[in-house]
């Protein structure tokens, strides 16, 4: 079974904001809120780096445990999604999340204001749709932030594959440091 995760290579990120723009465009995220944000590490200091932070799709999501209405669910492939129809906007998941991923927009479609929105691995857009059986319509997990990243800093997909990719990069960097390149 494929398990999907994100991994952000801070050594490659240049804070272009492309992931932010791509996410907004692909998912129809309105003004005033965002599913991904780029944070600055060691801001203003030598060696300043950048990291894009969105929902980490945790193995044991604190938001899922906290949600009083079971609006948040975890798919078998590890992607954590939320059903906006069940959300009451209590904000509890936002407090539970150690990464500040859940957002409660006060702009955009009126019926979705105050309702939790977060990264869904591009499986469910901002304005959710349901099929005749009442199930959320979900797309293929092809995160726009990963596709759009010019430096390939943002890795997302099968955790086994992205771990291999990142490990190879780290090994390469280690070798480069050793030979003084």
């Amino acid at each position: 079974m494929v398990i999907y995760k994100f991994l952000h290579d801070v050594d490659r990120c240049i804070d272009c904001g492309g992931c932010f723009a791509a996410c907004k465009d692909s998912n129809g995220v309105p003004e005033g809120t965002a599913r991904i944000r780029v944070i600055r590490l060691n801001e203003g200091k030598l060696g300043e780096k950048y990291a894009a932070m969105a929902c980490m799709h945790c193995t044991d999501p604190a938001c899922l445990s906290a949600c009083p209405t079971k609006a948040i669910t975890k798919r078998p492939d590890g992607i954590v999604i939320n059903d906006k129809a069940k959300c009451i906007g209590c904000g509890y998941c936002g407090w539970a999340c150690p990464f500040g991923a859940p957002k409660y927009p006060d702009k955009g479609p009126v019926e979705l204001r105050g309702i939790m929105d977060k990264c869904t691995f591009c499986v469910v857009p901002y304005e959710q749709e349901k099929d005749v059986a009442g199930n959320l319509i979900q797309h293929e997990p092809k995160p726009a932030c990963v596709s759009f990243c010019a430096t390939k800093a943002r890795l997302g997909g099968d955790v086994t594959e992205i771990t291999k990719t990142y490990t190879a990069r780290m090994a390469g960097r280690l070798v480069q440091r050793q030979v003084g390149v």
Binding site: L41, M53, A62, P68, G89, C90, C97, G100, A101
Partner: protein, 324 residues
Amino acid sequence: MSHTAYVVFTVFSQMAVGALIAMVIADFLAKGKEDAKFFETGAWVCVPVAIIGLIAMLSHEARPIQAMMTMNANLATSWLSRESLVLTVFIVLAVIYTVLWLFEPEYGSLKGIPLIPKIAKPFIPLRKVVGIISAIVGFAFLGVSAKAYMMMGLPAMDQATTPLFFLVTTLLVGVTAVAAVLSVKYVVKKEAVEPFTRLLWATCGIALVMVIVLLFTLFANISVLQTAETEAATLAQANTLENMLHGDYTALFYARVVIGVILTLVCLAALILPLKKKDISKASALTFAVFVCALIGELLGRAVFFGANVPLGEVMPYVLSSIV
């Protein structure tokens, strides 16, 4: 999100629990129907205060009607669901207990309303039992409510001081609220001196103990706040402390100490002399002052509790900086 709703909800719901406990104490202090008739007015406090708290909680939800129907859906893991359930049970019991006071056929304020006093009459002897059960559920609500905020994502609230703060609000504000209402009644009607004096002594004792607990809890909260196990949690706690003592919430924090602790203690100390001299009119006025100071102090303190708090998500960049 605005914290006002959380402040009003927690203070008023806890005040409702304390008001019910005060009525249970009054029920046991009453030595006959005349005493009970005087105390009966205090039964008006609990349910309206609980409803104000409930409205405040629902007002901050994006879908309040849906919240009422579905908040109990995740009892298995969500402390918020559990809080919602226990609060519902408490309010139902509080309504029943209040009915057994207000619709008492001989002295209830609402004894003139048709049918209900007749239905309530056979259950009046069970009022103390209902009161005790309601009080126990009320204490359970305090524990569950505190646990709802004691989570990994809120390191500054994930302390033993959180349930202590809630207990102080319950017994300090709730009990003095009932005493304050009865004080107004005494000043107007000048009746039931003996039972009211007993209640005032009980109120004075409870309030004094709770102010001491509050002092201890404030000290513990400040000095022991940075005890989390992870760097991120410690940083969140440190930032919360900074907000409280040297930041945006410093004025509120010290106002809370002045009004909610010092002024309350001064009023309590001043209350003892007229109580000893059985100058109940003066004691009534001072009891009202204790309630007002305690309520303002707790509202300010709760505003600091929620407002100064720094969640884990806000400090992540700084923690990540240290490992890059």
